[in-house]
């Protein structure tokens, strides 16, 4: 009981109030994030509707195997994150630490593969504003496609990096034994954030990689 009192911040009445506030705060933040990505998704939608053939052709330049691998990696990381939340609520510290480490490891695998893909685009002169070269007839819209590819996946990767930072902080607190069945809000909320970032990727993968594969 004394433990939970030290966790309670002075301006809250009790723990349930503090938990409600934190959790609602994260949900509201995620609503903002949806709109933040929304501007880019809208730009994608408008331009793909304008140039469906060139977008489909440009999507062939992406490596579907690497993209699919990354999708699988992220889905697994969502599972290990869900396990972390579960173990923190059950008060199993070792299992919590292992789940967090697994999640972070999978996140790093994702970023490494993403980095490999980016490097390939640099080699193939597909980086807008840096070395973009493409068939002259469709260069403009294809550059739009790759601008959106880098914009969307770059913003997503930035969110992954921030997520890894958050998980590092959570991991340190977990190692200190800060989380108990009475107090596991930070694990739950970073889990919400992590799942959100995964869901963004679940939209990005088909929109960027798969639009020409049904033919």
């Amino acid at each position: 009981m004394s433990e939970s009192e030290s966790i309670l911040r002075g301006h809250f009445r009790d723990m349930p109030q503090q938990r409600d506030a934190s959790s609602l705060g994260m949900w509201v933040f995620l609503a903002t994030e949806v709109m933040f990505f929304g501007g880019l998704f809208l730009t994608y939608t408008v331009n793909r509707a304008a140039y469906p053939a060139i977008f489909a052709q440009a999507s062939r330049q992406l490596d579907v195997t690497l993209g699919a691998t990354n999708t699988a990696v992220l889905i697994c990381s969502s599972m290990t994150m869900a396990m972390a939340v579960y173990f923190s609520q059950k008060g199993k510290r070792t299992a919590l630490v292992i789940s967090l480490l697994l999640t972070m490891g999978l996140g790093l695998v994702f970023l490494t593969i993403k980095g490999m893909e980016y490097a390939e685009k640099f080699r193939h002169h597909l980086v807008p504003g840096y070395n973009f070269q493409y068939a002259p007839a469709s260069a403009g819209p294809a550059q739009l496609y790759f601008s959106l590819y880098f914009g969307l996946t770059g913003l997503h990767a930035l969110h992954m990096i921030i997520g890894l930072g958050i998980l590092t902080a959570v991991l340190i607190e977990a190692l200190r034994g800060r989380y108990t069945p009475e107090y596991s809000t930070p694990v739950e909320l970073s889990g919400l954030y992590w799942h959100f970032v995964d869901i963004i990727w679940i939209y990005l993968f088909p929109l960027l990689y798969l639009i020409d594969l049904h033919r």
């Binding site: 705060g25 903002t32 709109m35 933040f36 880019l40 730009t43 504003g129 550059q143």
Partner: protein, 552 residues
């Protein structure tokens, strides 16, 4: 005021809790953060005002000989950017909302006090980018950053200004997030949703726009900056992009941003009018719900900025219809304020003068908005001074009037002191006259066809332009006066009672200035909002009446 001499300032309050610079810069007290915002936005207000003065001086003369056309472009751009993003949007929410919302709902602080301080630092950081862009030579795209002017042709400091707005957006988002969570989770026992002051309702609606609109402008200006630096083609038709898409994205935020400015003002007016009519607000639930009506419909009207931008006729008709629809919740509010005044026991204290001024000017601004929402007429007055006059009636006549009215109304609570009432009434009058003299001629100018954003004009428009500039100089006096006597009153003003008007909100139940934790003990609410029949309010009203009759 014989009672004033017996009053003393509360021994321990949020102002004397600590004195060093550190006690302010590292504070997490929402009241102190509100004052940090007050100082910073006042700074930006005077910068924006400085640009306005130069604009008006240049327009004294039809040839516009004071500054070159290029300089003039930079002046109106920086006036717009500074006033919109660094004064109007944070004004009432970040200062009065920050200060009052926790007290109005009986909480010790906002839900996330450190996030609140962070949002102020983010605001300052964004402000520094904007200041840099101004000192380095300014921006000349207009505050709207239309592409491809902003992405290709402009040779001014677009990226720094866009980044400044991008960064400051996150300060708005965090403030909105904090308000929503606070209003949901931090209400005192007995403070049910329908006992909340209307001020809190309007800030909830405003916060929804902060949360859902601001990220869109952030990502849009981010794309503009990327396109400009890396020569991408999002909005460049030569590379397959679409400049009209920029206009859609920009106005998706920037039209609702108008409601960010006016909704909190409506909240302020909804507090002032019942207080000085000594009457419960008429149609409480309708006034509360109308805030959400405005916020929701306000998200669906942005296309009325694109009537002449190659938008399809069907889209234009839909946006025109939806724009008319916003008039309904706005009118609900105005008529309910009228209903509150009807048979009220009205006194004309300074805040009330501002509130009444707000109603009149907002009605003019709102009705001329209907002119602009109509497809045919808008083609005629689009991009003329008619538009300038319309939105200044909303933003200056509405939002700034409400902000100043709110500052006067809550000044005794904020500072613990009273401002000089006679001088304040005089300043309110000066402001009202100066404002109308500045902006009413612009309706006529616009209707006669004078376009906005030109540094010179045909000589037949000179008389109206001279009237407008004369009005602006009167308006400037009206702004400087309150600033002077507010600063004076912080040291020399008579000490204020905890509930000087009297008003019914919880914020008036605690001492002036409030203690750091707002209330000695958490209040328990057993009364409805604006209940002037409460025994303590009745006693204060009776004492006020007795003091008034003994003076006669």
């Amino acid at each position: 005021m014989s009672t004033a001499q017996t009053l003393t300032l509360p021994r321990k309050n949020y102002l004397n809790e600590g004195y060093g610079l550190k006690s302010w810069l590292l504070t997490t007290d929402h009241k102190r953060i509100a004052l940090l915002y007050l100082v910073s936005i006042t700074f930006f207000f005077f910068i924006g005002g400085f640009f306005a003065v130069l604009i008006r001086l240049n327009l004294l003369n039809p040839a516009g000989t004071l500054v070159s056309a290029e300089t003039y472009n930079r002046l109106f751009t920086m006036h717009g950017i500074t006033m919109v993003f660094f004064f109007l949007i944070p004004s009432i929410p970040a200062v009065l909302g920050n200060f009052l919302i926790p007290m109005m709902i009986g909480a010790k602080d906002l839900a996330f006090p450190r996030l609140n301080l962070l949002s102020w630092y983010i605001f300052v950081l964004g402000g520094l980018f904007t200041l840099y862009s101004q000192l380095a030579g300014g921006v000349d795209t207009g505050w709207t950053f239309y592409t491809p002017l902003s992405t290709i042709y402009s040779d001014s400091h677009v990226v720094a200004a866009a980044l400044g707005i991008f960064i400051t957006g996150f300060s708005s988002i965090l403030t909105g997030l904090n308000f929503i969570v606070t209003i949901h989770t931090m209400r005192a026992p007995g403070m049910t949703w329908f006992r909340l002051p209307i001020f809190v309702w309007t800030h909830y609606a405003t916060s929804i726009i902060f949360i859902l609109g601001t990220p869109v402008i952030a990502v849009t200006l981010g794309m503009v900056a990327l396109e400009r630096v890396f020569h991408l083609g999002f909005f460049n038709p030569a590379l397959g992009g679409d400049p009209v898409l920029f206009q859609h994205l920009f106005w998706f935020y920037s039209h609702p941003a108008v409601y960010i400015m006016i909704l909190p003002g409506m909240g302020v007016v909804s507090e002032i009018i019942p207080t000085f009519a000594r009457k419960r607000i008429f149609g409480y639930s309708f006034v509360a719900a109308a805030s959400f009506g405005i916020a929701v419909i306000g998200f669906l009207v942005w296309g009325h900025h694109l009537f002449v931008s190659s938008q399809s006729a069907y889209a234009a008709m839909t946006f025109s219809f939806l724009s008319y629809l916003v008039a309904i919740p706005s009118a609900v509010k105005v008529f309910n304020w009228m209903g509150t005044l009807y048979k009220g026991s009205i006194s004309y204290d300074t805040p009330m003068l501002y509130a009444l001024g707000f109603i009149g000017l907002f009605v003019i601004g709102g009705l001329t908005g209907l002119f602009l929402a109509s497809l045919g007429l808008d083609v005629h007055v689009h991009d003329t001074y008619f538009v300038i006059a319309h939105f200044h009636y909303i933003m200056v006549g509405g939002a700034v009037m409400a902000y100043l009215g709110g500052l006067h109304f809550w000044w005794p609570k904020i500072s613990g002191r009273l401002y000089p009432e006679g001088l304040a009434k005089f300043a309110a009058l000066v402001l009202f006259i100066g404002f109308n003299l500045t902006f009413f001629p612009q309706f006529v100018l616009g209707y006669m066809g004078m376009p906005r954003r030109y540094h010179s004009y045909p000589p037949e428009f000179q008389i109206l332009n001279v009237m407008s500039t004369a009005g602006a100089s009167i308006l400037a006096v009206g702004y400087l006066l309150p600033m002077a006597y507010f600063i004076w009153s912080m040291r020399y003003g008579p000490i204020a009672a905890s509930n000087p008007w009297p008003a019914t909100g919880l914020e008036w139940q605690t001492s002036s200035p409030p203690p750091p934790e707002n209330f000695e003990e958490t209040p328990v609410v057993t009364w409805e909002a604006y209940d002037f029949n409460r025994p303590d309010i009745k006693a204060l009203l009776a004492a006020q009446a007795a003091a008034a009759s003994s003076q006669d």
